[in-house]
């Protein structure tokens, strides 16, 4: 009983804060376990996400609308307080639903949990050909997006605008 009262009060408080523009009623996308790793002379960012596909987005997917999940990477070279873009890339994945099957690009999943598990583990190149830039300060921004051809403001179904900023220095070989 007390927990239901507490939940009701908490929901009302969320509504108040949402109306005041302090929070969103939709779940935030969480990013954790961010790692920067070097593989095959390239630098990768590895991270895990949570609540990428929330119940509202899932409802849209299940209604048969194709949506796209994208990871945009922009890497800057930082020198004397000046930044120069040296690399950018956008990794886009199509999420769709057909006949009780979920699809991530062409890969099929028979349950939503498997789809979400796959989506939550991310790895993306943030700096290819690492040897070209040595002993330099680099800054990379990774921005997550979700969009659809038929729904322009799909991003509003996320409670936040998830992004990662990575500042690191390339080693000398």
């Amino acid at each position: 009983m007390f927990s239901s009262i507490a939940t009701t009060i908490s929901n009302y408080a969320r509504v108040i804060f949402a109306v005041l523009g302090l929070i969103s009623l939709y779940p935030n996308v969480e990013i954790n376990n961010v790692k920067v790793v070097e593989k095959n002379r390239s630098i990768y960012a590895q991270f895990k996400t949570k609540s990428l596909i929330n119940e509202y987005i899932l409802q849209i997917i299940e209604s048969g609308i194709d949506i796209y999940y994208s990871i945009a990477v922009v890497t800057y070279l930082v020198r004397d307080k000046h930044e120069r873009e040296i690399y950018s890339n956008v990794l886009t994945k199509k999420i769709s639903y057909n006949k009780n099957n979920y699809f991530l690009d062409n890969t099929s999943y028979n349950s939503v949990n498997k789809l979400i598990a796959n989506l939550n583990n991310n790895q993306i190149i943030i700096l290819p050909h690492k040897q070209v830039i040595q002993n330099t300060t680099v800054r990379t921004t990774i921005t997550l997006k979700i969009f659809s051809d038929s729904i322009p403001d799909l991003m509003n179904l996320w409670g936040n605008r998830p992004n990662i900023v990575l500042n690191y220095r390339t080693d000398e070989n």
């Binding site: 949402a18 209604s63 048969g64 038929s150 403001d153 179904l157």
Partner: protein, 419 residues
């Protein structure tokens, strides 16, 4: 008080605002759900045989539903400004109301503390100082304070009078005792001398003179006068406790007035004859006391009051005696009248009026003080006894006096049984 009111007001307004937000949000959400259900049902019926369109409609509804929370928040947010305007206006009105209520109370509180300052009540009441204002309740509060302060003043005066009177009683008791001690041997020795001289015995050969006997006799007479005066003081110091019983006021008044020589008791039915008699220059010029009952009172009805007849008789006797003395004092071509009149309205009132010289305004307050008198050779004890007795009997004594026209004493008695 104001700050507390404003804090309560602020919290109340905040609660109203929060409630409005939640109610609006919930109402919007409910409306959205209802719309969804209506649309889905309609799509299922309308496009029963066209699954493509039906699916398209369902997609639209699902999108709408997914964004419903956002829309509900936006609708509520758009209404929030109106709520804020309403709440702000309500707050201003309520703050104004709070101030309009508290301002007169604050002012009243300030005035009352000024009145009560120094532990003694001022002569002015709040009503005298400023006009009551504010709501009906606040005005009633002002008037209640006025009544309270007036009552307090009356009690203060009463307590002051009682204290003074107690002091006088104590002084009178001591004086009587001391003078009695002093005059007792003087009386004894004077009596002894008078007896000896009356029998022809001499103190010495040269003291057979009758003038000596005359002087001793005069001493004895003066001692007797002193004793009478002391007895009056003793009366003041030892007033008896009242013995309340049902008293016929008409009979009592007849008895008291009959004690005064040359006074005729005139009842209303005789007044007409008396008026004719008064017009006659050869009429009896004796002092008259007219007992006039007001016309509301049946002549056969006797009024009874619950009081001590002896003590009430003493009050009436003193006041009638004063009235008679006052009229005799005034030199007039015709005789003065002392009127004793009944009234039975809210209270039974006995009026004793004279057409004497009246009491000057500046000494009217002092007439009940023991020892105060305007009459030559009077010790000024009568009216103080009247006041003390009236307090014991719960009788109110009021006085009206116009200089050179006369004085009226009102003896206001509590109601007894009416037979």
């Amino acid at each position: 008080m104001r700050i507390r009111f404003i804090v309560i007001l602020f919290v109340s307004m905040l609660l109203i605002l929060i409630s409005s937000i939640i109610i609006t949000y919930k109402a919007t959400e409910e409306t959205q759900k209802n719309i969804q259900e209506i649309l889905i049902n309609r799509a299922l019926i309308e496009y029963k045989y066209n699954p493509k369109i039906r699916n398209e409609i369902k997609k639209s509804i699902d999108i709408y539903l997914a964004f419903s929370k956002k829309q509900a928040v936006e609708i509520t947010r758009s209404l929030l400004k109106y709520y804020l305007i309403v709440v702000l206006m309500m707050s201003i009105l309520l703050v104004f109301s709070v101030f309009s209520i508290t301002r007169p109370i604050k002012e009243l509180s300030k005035r009352v503390s000024n009145i009560l300052r120094g532990g003694k009540l001022a002569d002015q009441t709040t009503h005298d100082i400023f006009k009551p204002r504010g709501s009906y309740e606040v005005k009633q509060l002002y008037l209640s304070f006025d009544r309270l302060i007036k009552d307090l003043k009356e009690y203060e005066e009463l307590i002051g009078d009682r204290e003074r009177y107690r002091g006088w009683k104590e002084i009178a008791r001591v004086i009587v005792h001391e003078i009695n001690n002093l005059i007792s041997p003087v009386e004894t020795y004077s009596g002894f001398l008078f007896e000896k001289l009356s029998k022809g015995e001499t103190i010495s050969n040269s003291h057979l003179n009758p003038k000596v006997r005359e002087k001793i006799n005069a001493i004895l007479l003066k001692i007797e006068e002193i004793k009478i005066t002391l007895a009056k003081f003793r009366d003041l110091a030892h007033l008896p406790e009242p013995n309340f019983k049902t008293v016929n006021l008409t009979t009592l008044l007849k008895n008291i007035t009959s004690e005064f020589k040359g006074i005729k008791l005139i009842l209303p039915e005789e007044s007409h004859d008396e008026e004719e008699k008064s017009d006659n220059p050869n009429a009896d010029t004796a002092l008259d006391i007219n007992i006039n009952k007001t016309h509301e009172i049946d002549l056969d009805v006797h009024f009874t009051v619950t009081t001590d007849p002896i003590l009430l008789g003493e009050i009436l006797r003193n006041l009638i005696k004063n009235a008679v003395e006052s009229t005799l004092k005034k030199e007039r071509s015709d005789h003065g009248d002392v009127v004793v009149k009944f009234q039975n309205r809210d209270n039974i009132t006995v009026e004793i009026s004279d057409r004497g010289e009246g009491i000057p305004k500046e000494i009217q307050e002092k007439i009940f003080t023991p020892g105060f008198s305007t009459k030559e050779g009077n010790i000024g004890i009568g009216l103080s006894i009247v006041k003390s007795l009236s307090e014991q009997l719960g009788i109110k004594i009021e006085m009206e006096s116009i200089e050179s026209k006369g004085t009226t004493f009102y003896i206001i008695l509590p109601h007894g049984d009416k037979k």
